[in-house]
Structures are given as structure tokens and as C-alpha cells.
């Protein structure tokens, strides 16, 4: 258990806690970025360079920016007057604590059966590319189809329907 691991995991957990607990949603998105960066550092600490840099590119570079855009587009940074937590928040907290208790208990129970420290595997990007083009070529193609479908689907879902928008505007003007 190295100091680097302890420091990075403390940073990640603190970022995650802030991301779900802060009141201002923009601050939540920034804390989420810290949590993602901590996870990328944990990946690098585990010797998975490619996954770590993919994590930085995809999560910090794309998902966090997307979340900030969504918050700003929905004016989510304004704190609602009846609080940021749902009506049933104690139940949610109890469920999450129970899940953590079960997971932690099972990990601590199986500690003696977990594999001991092995030497760090050396994986080059060339090896990953070769594996993607040979053994994992079908999942790669499926992911390509999924990403294309998700891209088109997201644009269609979020697209302005021009006709209806015009109708809405007319209705609002009539109300005025």
C-alpha cells in the first residue's frame, strides 16, 4: 500500500463526494472532473497507460465538458427553492450505505483468496492495437456502430423541432 495510492484514492473519493454533495451544480461538475482525473491516475498507477489516457481524453475532455454544457443549457446552476435533495433522500442514503457494507464485507472476507502482488505487466500500445485488430475486432466494430447510433440519436433527441417551437412562441404571444 504505497503513499501514492493512498493520496490518489483520497483525492478521488473526495472529488466523488463533492460531486454528489455540493449545492451548486457547476461546482459538482468541476468536482466530477477531479474524481475522473483521480481515477485516471489510479489506472496509470496500475500500469494501464492506455486506459488511463483514454480516461483523461474521454471523461475529462468530453463527458465533463458535455455535463457543463447541459447544466448551462438547462439553467441547472440555480439552486431550487425546495432544496437539492430528493424527498426520499434518507432511503437513498441507507441503500447506498447498505451496498457499500455488502461490498466491503465481501472484499474483506475474500482477502486471503485474492492474488498477491505480481510484477507489473508491460503492455505497449502496439500490443493493444494488435489485439483490437485480431481478437477483439468484432467488439470494436460493434462499438463503432454503437457510437454512430448514439451520436445520431443524441442529435435527434436534442434537436429543436422547428414547427413546434414556432407554435410554442405563438401560444406564448397569444397568452401575453
Amino acid at each position: 500500500m504505497s503513499y501514492a495510492f493512498l493520496f490518489i484514492s483520497a483525492l478521488t473519493v473526495a472529488g466523488g463526494l463533492a460531486a454528489v454533495a455540493l449545492k451548486n451544480t457547476v461546482h459538482c461538475a468541476l468536482a466530477l472532473t477531479v474524481a475522473f482525473a483521480g481515477l485516471a491516475l489510479l489506472f496509470l498507477d496500475l500500469g494501464a497507460q492506455f486506459a488511463g489516457f483514454a480516461q483523461i481524453l474521454v471523461y475529462i475532455g468530453a463527458v465533463a465538458i458535455l455535463v457543463v454544457f447541459a447544466i448551462l443549457l438547462t439553467r441547472g446552476s440555480e439552486t431550487p427553492k425546495d432544496g437539492v435533495y430528493s424527498k426520499h433522500w434518507p432511503a437513498g442514503l441507507v441503500i447506498a450505505a447498505a451496498v457499500f457494507a455488502v461490498l466491503g464485507w465481501s472484499i474483506l472476507q475474500s482477502i486471503s483468496k485474492l492474488p498477491q502482488a505480481a510484477q507489473t505487466p508491460t503492455v505497449t500500445v502496439a500490443q493493444i492495437g494488435q489485439a483490437l485488430m485480431t481478437r477483439y475486432v468484432l467488439p470494436l466494430e460493434l462499438i463503432a456502430i454503437l457510437l454512430t447510433a448514439a451520436l445520431i440519436g443524441a442529435v435527434i433527441v436534442a434537436m429543436h423541432e422547428n414547427g413546434r417551437h414556432e407554435n410554442d412562441r405563438h401560444e406564448k404571444e397569444e397568452v401575453k
Binding site: 495510492f5 451544480t25 462499438i143
Partner: protein, 103 residues
Amino acid sequence: MTPLAGYLLVAALIFSIGLAGALTRRNAILVLIGIELMLNAANLNLIAFWRYGPHPEALTGMMFAIFSIAVAAAEAAVGLGLVIQVHRHAHSTDLDAMNRMKG
């Protein structure tokens, strides 16, 4: 304690934090943030088992994590698109106020 157990405990903690966020927040975007955290905790588990497993040279866990990152990106794009559309329709992202599916 073995290093693997430390990584698994951190992943379990992040998963529970994400679950708590998804279950307790009102704002739909914050619920999506919680889900993203849960997905990331699962990825950390996959990478940790890949690193300490018997055959790291087979790359199975790492490949699974990379594909999982791609799926999570697609999920975030569609989820946030849905949130924006719901906000346009209902002028709110409060999940407690969304109690009907009719337009």
C-alpha cells in the same frame, strides 16, 4: 492487506458514492453524474483485476475497460440529450416533479 483489496475497496466506495448521488439528488444531470461515477468504479475493478490476475498479457480486463469507457461516453451523450429535451418540454430538470409520461 494486499494492494488488490485496497483498489477494490476504493472502487466499492466510489460506487456507493455514485449510487447515493443517483438516489438522493433531484436534478437529472446530477443523477447522470452519479451513474458516471458508478461506471467508473466498475472500470477501476476491471483494471485492478487485469493487473493482479493470472494472465495480464491476455489483455482481457483492460480491453473490457476500454470498451466500457466507449459505452459510457455514448450513454452520457444520449442521457444529456434526453435531459435537455425534457427541460425544453417541462422547463425543469427536477426529477420529483416528473411524474407523468404524457406530453
